[in-house]
């Protein structure tokens, strides 16, 4: 077994203080209280990035939603943010665990495009729009306001959230960057 050398530990602390990108993969939830951290998710199609932040304590979280509802199926821990309905309370709870307050939380969402038109089943038809609706409902249930959104359309998106400022940046394959 390799033990962590002091040099390696020092390096880790250093990068934490610098601007660190945290990539949020399909179905993942990430929360951070590093004010320099940038949460990012690449290439969203029908998926939705749910960005939530508390500016006072500089805590932010991002969730990469794939489907609207798990219909109460049990989550197996690997993709806690897969479903809008069960993932949203988890995201909020994890941020609260870090010290964020629900009353100060603000949400911004992006994604839910219709990149592909055909679907092999009714459930998957226009899944992007269904995801957006489910995310909006879930945030409303948690009492969190959405202050900006960039959803729908037919193009993929990459989404960045800056913990320190709560700025959300969206890039599409066709248009460059837009800030929210």
């Amino acid at each position: 077994m390799v033990s962590k050398s002091p040099a390696r530990l020092a390096k880790r602390t250093e990068t934490q203080a610098e601007e660190a990108s945290i990539v949020v993969g399909l179905g993942e939830i990430w929360v951070t209280r590093n004010p320099k951290a940038v949460l990012v998710t690449f290439g969203l199609g029908s998926c939705v990035a749910v960005c939530v932040y508390d500016l006072e304590v500089k805590i932010a979280g991002m969730m990469h939603v794939v489907l609207p509802s798990g219909n109460n199926s049990t989550l197996n821990g690997r993709s806690p943010g897969k479903y809008a309905d069960s993932g949203t309370p988890l995201l909020i709870q994890r941020m609260e665990n870090l010290g964020a307050a629900r009353t100060r939380m603000v949400a911004k969402i992006a994604g839910g495009a219709r990149v592909v038109h055909g679907a092999p089943s009714e459930t998957l038809m226009d899944i992007g729009q269904k995801n957006v609706e489910a995310v909006k409902k879930a945030l409303e249930r948690e009492g969190i306001t959405i202050s900006a959104f960039d959803t729908g359309g037919v193009h993929g998106r990459s989404v960045w959230l800056k913990t320190g400022s709560g700025l959300m940046m969206v890039r599409t394959a066709s248009n460059g960057y837009i800030q929210f």
Binding site: G25, L26, G27, E28, T41, F42, G43, L44, G45, S46, C47, V66, L67, S73, T74, N76, G77, R78, S79, K82, A113, V115, V116, H117, G118, A119, P120, S121, T123, L124, I127, H155, G156, R157, S158, R171, A173
Partner: protein, 207 residues
């Protein structure tokens, strides 16, 4: 690998059965393409493996990479997606070949170029499905293809959403191919859902 009861888990035997079928399908797809462009198509690599769904876009160069995707859904005894992914510059070379143009003459993708790519997707997708359907006595009907230029992750999202309804892992069949004399290559991805695999393995076992 961490697994749970909800994940796709294929036994060694099942994986072998699926591999044989997928390879049969891919062979048929590539010879269909060879006939269409009247050229030899070389399969450069063929890989069947299980990866976490979130890692699937990495197979085609990363989630935010701009790619030309040709997308088919299929219905019938089972449903699923077939996706062909090309870097945009290789898509142009493929179009030259498909339309019988001199190399390097296609610079933009308009309606005609798009339908050439769609036709290629049609040939590859239906040849693949036919090989599997015929050997198992199933009916699998492909949809008309959609041709999309977008980020790889965005193109794969719909297919991954179907699979993620049932599992956090995907079993993908990845083929990269090129032509003997021209530098064109593409990735042909088959992303079977758990229900598709169940139907296919069920029929294969019944034989």
């Amino acid at each position: 690998m961490e697994t749970s009861s909800k994940d796709i888990t294929l036994s060694k035997d099942e994986m072998r059965v699926w591999s044989n079928l997928a390879i049969k399908g891919i062979d048929n797809a590539m010879s269909g393409l060879a006939t269409m462009v009247n050229r030899q198509i070389d399969i450069r690599s063929l890989s069947l493996r299980q990866v976490p769904a979130k890692d699937a876009p990495a197979v085609v160069g990363g989630s935010d990479k701009l790619v030309m995707g040709i997308y088919l859904t299929f219905t019938g005894d089972a449903t699923g997606y077939i996706v062909l992914v090309h870097p945009p510059e290789f898509a142009l070379t493929m179009i030259d070949m498909l339309l019988g143009n001199n190399p390097g003459s296609t610079a933009n993708i308009h309606e005609m170029e798009q339908s050439a790519l769609a036709e290629m997707g049609n040939i590859i997708g239906s040849s693949f499905l036919n090989a599997i359907a015929d050997s198992l006595g199933l009916s699998l009907r492909p949809s008309p293809p959609e041709v999309i230029l977008d980020m790889a992750g965005a193109i794969l999202d719909a297919a991954l959403a179907e699979i993620l309804q049932e599992s956090d892992d995907v079993i993908l069949a990845e083929t990269t191919f090129n032509t003997g004399d021209r530098q064109a290559s593409g990735t042909f991805l088959v992303l079977p859902s758990l229900s598709f695999l169940k139907v296919v393995l069920g029929s294969a076992g019944a034989k």
